[in-house]
Structures are given as C-alpha cells and as structure tokens.
Symmetry: C4
C-alpha cells in the first residue's frame, strides 16, 4: 500500500460508497426494467455487484488494501495483531468509520441517480435460515481474503472476491450481504436492495460471527504463511 | 501444497461441502425467484456453480490441490502412480471419503439455509443421452486438470475448471454433475438440483467411465510433461 | 505503444467503431429476440458491450493505448501534460477526431448488419438523475484508467475497464454511456441504444465533468506514480 | 507447441468437436428449458459457447495451437508463409480436414446426448446483413489471433477469443458463426443452432472474406512483430 492514513480512509469511504451505489442502483434498475421476474432482477443485481466489486478492489487495493467491509478490516486486524506494521485496532476502527460513512453515502448517491427519496427501508429480512446464510457468506469471504494474504496471492483478490460474492448472492438464502457497512447503507434506500433498520442488527451480528468462523477456518487451512513473502504484488491487501 | 494429510482432508471436506451448498442452494433460490422459466433457473444455477467452483479452487489449491471430486482424485492417483511423492491409492481413498462426507454435509447446509428438510430426492434422472453427457463432462474435466498439471499451468485451474463446468451444465444433457461426491450430496435435497438415490449409481458409473476416457485423452495429447517442471505455481494441484 | 501516429489513429477509429457496433448491434438483437422484457435486453446489451470492450482494449492497447473515448484521451493528456513523451493536446485532438469518426461509422455498420436505416435517433434521454449517472460512470472510468497507469498495471485495463462498464450499465440511471464518441455514434441509430441528438450535448457535458472529477479522484488516491515505472507491460496505455 | 503432426490433428479434431457439441448442445437445452424467449436462449447459448471455447484454447493451445477453425488456420498459414518453421499450406490443409471432421462429429455427439436424430438442418439463414455480420465476426477473430501472436501475448488467446465470440454472437446479425468447420457441423443438427446446407456456402465464403479482411487489419495495426519474440508462453499459437 502506498497511502497515508487520510488517503487510505478516503479510499475506503469512496470504495464502500461505490459498492453500495452499485448494489442499490442496480437493484432499482432491475426492478424497473424486469418487473415480472424477481430471479432475473437478482441475476442483474449479482452481475453488477460482482463486476463493481472486482473493479473497486483492483482500483483501491494499492491504496488502502480495499477492505470496503468492517468484517474484513476486523479480520485483518485480528490476524495481524502483534505483527510489526500490521493494522492496529485504532486503524481498523478508523477504517470501519470510513466504511460506514461510505455505505450511507453510496445509498444516497444511488437514490439521487434514480431520483428516489433517501428514506428508511421497509423490507423485512431475517429468520434463522437467512442468518445462517450471512454466517456462511461472511466466513467464506474473510477466510478467502486472509488465505490470499497468507499465500502471497493478493493479486487474485479482485476476481476471487468478486466471484465469491457473485456466487453467494445466489446460494445463501440472505442473498449475501456479508458486510456490515453495506448492510447499514442498505437501510436508507426503500428499494429492491433495502433492509429495514430493525432487521440490520441481527444481520451484522451474524456477519461478525461469520468473520470469526472465517478466522478459524483460515487458522486451520493456512496456520502461517505458506512461504516467505515474495515481491509484494501491486494489489496488496493490508495485513 | 503446504498441507499435512489431516489439513488436506479438512480442505477437501470443506471445499466439497461449499461446492454442493452452492449447487443446491442456488437451485433452491432460482426456483423460488424465477418459477416460470426453467432455463433461467439453470442459468442462475450455472452462474453460481461456476463462480463458487473457481473460488474454491483458488482458496484450497495450495492446501490440498482442491480436487473436490473423487473422479479427479482417482485420475490424479492413476496418472501419478509410481511417481515418488505422488498421491497414493490410500491417499486418494482418504480424499474420496472426505469429499463424500463434504458432499452430504454441503447439501444439508443448503437445506438449513433455505429451511427445507434434508430428505431423499425424488427427481428422476437418467437415460442413455444423459449418461453419455456425464461421460463427456467428466472426461473433459479430468483431461483438463491433468493437462494443466502436465504443462505446469495449474495456476489456470480455477478459471479453466470453472469455465468447463459452467459450459457443460448447458451443453451436456445431464446438466453436468461430473462428480461422484456432488452426485451423492445431491441425493439428500429434494429440490431443483436433487437426484433420486436410485438414479445416482448409473451417474457415478458414467462419471468413472468418463474419468478413464479423460485419462486416455490426456495420454494422447500430453503423453508426458511438455517441459521440466518450472517453479511451482501457488495453486498447485497434487499429482 | 508501437504505433506511428497514423496507425494509432487507425486503431482508435477502428476500435471505437467496433465498440459502437457492439453497443448498437447487440441492442437491436436484444429487442428483436426478447421483446417482452427490457431488463433482459439490457443484460444482453451489457454482456456484449463488456466483452467487446475488453477484447478491443487487449487488441489495440499495444498500438494506440486503446482509449476509444475522448474523455479518456483528454484525461490522459491532462495527467501527462509537461511530461516528455506524453500525449500532446494536438495528439489528443487527433485521437478525439478519430474516435468521433469511428463512433459514427460503427453505428452505421450495425445498421447495415441488421438492415435498419441509418437515421437520427428519437430516444429521449436526460434528467438530473441520468446526468449524475453519467458523471459517476465517467469519473470512475477515468480514475480507473489513470490509476492503472500510475501503478504500472495497464495489463489489467482490459478486464477492469470491461467490468466497470458492465457494472455501470446497471447501476447508473443513464445506463452508462460514459463516452462522448459513443454518445455521438448512438445518435444515428433509431434503435434500442439510440439517443436523440438534442439530448446528446448534456450527456457529453456530464461526461466531461465526470472526467474532471475522475482526475481529481486519482489526484487524491495516486498523486504520483507509486513506484518507478517497471518494464512496460504489453498492453500499455499512453500517458 | 509440443505435438507431433498426428497429435496436433487429434487435438484439432477433438477441440472442434467439443466446440460444436457445446454450440449445438447448449442450443438444444436452451430451447427445451426456455421455450418462450428466444433472446434468453441465445444468452444461454452464448454463455456456454464462450466458456467452452476459452477452455478448449487453454487445453489444446500447447498441443496444436488450438485453431479449431479453418479461417484461423488459413490466416496463420498466410501470415507465416516463407517463415522457417511456420505452418505450411499442406499443414493448414490437414488442420482444416481435422476441423471439418471434428465439426461433424461434434454435432453428432450433441445429437446423441440430447437424443435427437442427426439429420440435415432446415433452418434458413442468410441475407446481406447476416453475411456482413459473418465478415465482421471473422475479420475480428483472425485479426485478434494474429495480433496476439505478433505481440507475444498468446497466453491471452483463451479469454480474448472467448470474449470476442461471446460478444459477436450478440452484435452481429448472423449470431457469429465465424468458423467454416463449425458452420459445416451445424448443418447436421436440425435444432436451434442448425443451418440449412444450402445456406452454408455463402456463410463460408463470407467467413473467408472476413479472414482476408482480418489479415489486412493486422497488416496495418501490427505490420511486423512489435518486439523480438520473448520466451514463448505455454499457450503458444502456431505462426
């Protein structure tokens, strides 16, 4: 990473905003253009989300690591705790703040583009099955990111993370929020991708539990770096 | 590969479970959201399956080789028999056991996420055309994996295997199970991706026949390594 | 880049023509084959546009940098002004001329392939929301291209730019024209992808504003090259 | 390439067969599963074709160059005529024979998998617009392949060629056959992807004209190798 802390926070804010704008905006477009088939709407939404996420990681990875997700920042902090130069808890907290601000701003940007009001969502989401889905989606995401770091393959983060989310939207019953900042952002658009604020805390808790599961998985699969770190790739992710 | 045997078996179990969860889960989601068009359901299912498979090979390749498929493990064992350090028959058997357990567990996980019971499938599948389809799909898969190993290009396994399965879902009449562990897993979800247990043995036999055909193909096309093995790629597949 | 100026201009003209032919042609095909679902039409259009754009950047990057877009050429000129060997304002102007000619020619080619007349579009597009969408889409595009140049990763331009446009078609309310030459080309086909000539100037102004925003973003995120330029990649983009 | 001539011909035959099986098979599946929307059928067909083509080039590139297309073999022969070690006219002829046999065999394989008779297609295709489409699709394909060879980037052939065909299916009015062997193969399946034998010669002539145009384009854009050939990539294409 080449960024100073303010620049890194700007990158996290901008990236999370564009990610949420992509999720919310493509959801609005999908409902408007394919009103008769919810599955087609979700396919369009998954297409846009996966592609946007891959681009944002490519663009912002060299600046901030492109976490764009509090669950990832906390996982990175935990995995690196005690390592000189690793992300500190304070740094992770600053990342989370930037991500939350970005998430809210991105939803507002999508609302402006599609000329709908920024207001609280009324879409109910929840139930045991969906919360298990959030655990699975977030665990896989955190394990994937940390495993790529530990095997010196962060240049694969953009396509791999995009593919994981693109798949998990379909195979988890919750359509894979998997990101507390995105969850919070999605509370302020009463559209396809929205989530009622009262349902968000359970989603966030499930995501944090998933992050812990992901740390456990990577601890089993990649207990320490598989090899000495090679020449760092340009798309470095902060560990 | 960096993993000890228990870690490798954990990787095979986890990876096969998530693969089957992706296949079964996305099938359930597809039927619920696009009830009027089976082709759209299969497109959604193929999208999720291909992306998940690519991610899992990326994630688990450095640990266990990411076979996630008894047909692949047996093919790898056969191609490497007599090679020092190659997968032994006992090792292949352990891999197969982990894959079968993972397949069943993954279907159960999808059932939990979507709150449907874990019970035997009633979906009939079979006929000469579909069994020929399984031979073709599995032969191509095994030939592809072994050819990448023999040309020192296992770093391409994730996108290439994902693309093969994503295509074969559409162009083989059986929708390309191509994997005995996935076939067994799919017997315990009575949903879109299910297969009645009585129809599974013929599918598995066709897949094993396909693996043999794939070994024959790679024997013709790449009778021995095309060049001395270069610096091993991070996404190594066990030979 | 290996091209002399005439060869570079030929590449820009040809590339922009094929890009517009892909946008317009796939739009016509989509409306003919999926008349009942506009969202499905846009998904087909986004698929073809993203794939074609990625190919054209791969093909033409080594010749001209594959800008294919006046907003990109102006951004590249501005970012490199004062740099020995950088694109001059006159060079950028010549690029823009070739791109505009290509855009018009590409629309005409699509019209010929689908046997529809080349005539002015009557499709009204506009409104504050859509113009904000154009600013967002173009800002992201220009920031992405320049950030890849400044981090010596222009070999990622083809997949990254293709993914950005593929996503932005869905998450910006304007379906992401993001390119003045494409906008002009789309005025001469009265089909799915058309835009009425009277609506084009506002789109172009929004795109130029977006390019300026993109320059500002990259100035914050990547204020100067992150590292000394390495061995130039084959898919070099002119800076 | 590592293959002897018989092995190379086997690769061309097998690869063209699987390509045609993918085109024809996915077309049959699409019509069966999505009978109400021809555009959705074409999207499913394009998905399977592009992914299969990318895999086959990855698999067979090191053996035979993975031309899988008489237009490509003739283009490669012409571009390399007089070069020591280049493909001879006799070699190109042998390639074409293997491709034609593969094309017919692949259609028959798809027919077997889907249990439909192998018989002549009755699907009429033609008209000036579609023939222009074939010229455009084949010109782009041949120019792309030769430009990648001349810039020492044949390792990009798999994704780039797959993306070109995936896009051209949508933006050319003929749905981009772009391959004489595939055209011949598609005459013997009276299904979605078929073409009446009487309409095939005009398609093939347009494809050969397109190959000539592609040679002209690459002659302008890449008149000679841009740099001394580097260490050959594993996915070498025969020049």
């Amino acid at each position: 990473m080449s960024g100073s802390l303010p620049r890194r926070l700007a990158a996290e804010l901008l990236g999370t905003a564009l990610l949420v704008a992509a999720v919310v905006g493509s959801g609005i477009m999908a409902v408007r253009l394919s009103p008769d088939d919810v599955g087609l709407q979700l396919l369009q939404n998954a297409w846009a989300t996966a592609l946007a996420l891959g681009v944002l990681i490519t663009l912002l990875g060299p600046v901030s690591g492109a976490h764009l997700n509090p669950a990832v920042s906390l996982g990175v902090w935990w995995a690196a705790r005690g390592t000189p130069g690793g992300l500190t808890l304070g740094g992770a907290g600053a990342y989370v703040g930037a991500q939350l601000a970005g998430g809210l701003g991105g939803a507002a940007l999508a609302n402006v583009m599609f000329e709908v009001p920024t207001k609280l969502s009324t879409t109910a989401r929840g139930g045991t099955g969906q919360l298990v889905g959030e655990v699975v989606a977030t665990a896989g995401l955190v394990a994937l990111v940390l495993a790529l770091v530990r095997t010196s393959r962060t240049h694969l983060a953009a396509p791999a993370v995009a593919a994981w989310i693109g798949a998990a939207v379909w195979f988890t019953s919750s359509t894979s929020f998997a990101n507390p900042a995105v969850t919070v952002g999605r509370t302020v658009s009463d559209t396809f991708a929205g989530i009622a604020p009262g349902d968000a805390p359970a989603f966030v808790l499930a995501q944090l539990l998933g992050a812990a599961v992901g740390l456990g998985v990577v601890g089993v699969l990649q207990p320490r770096p598989a090899r000495p770190t090679r020449d760092p790739e340009p798309v470095a992710i902060d560990l």
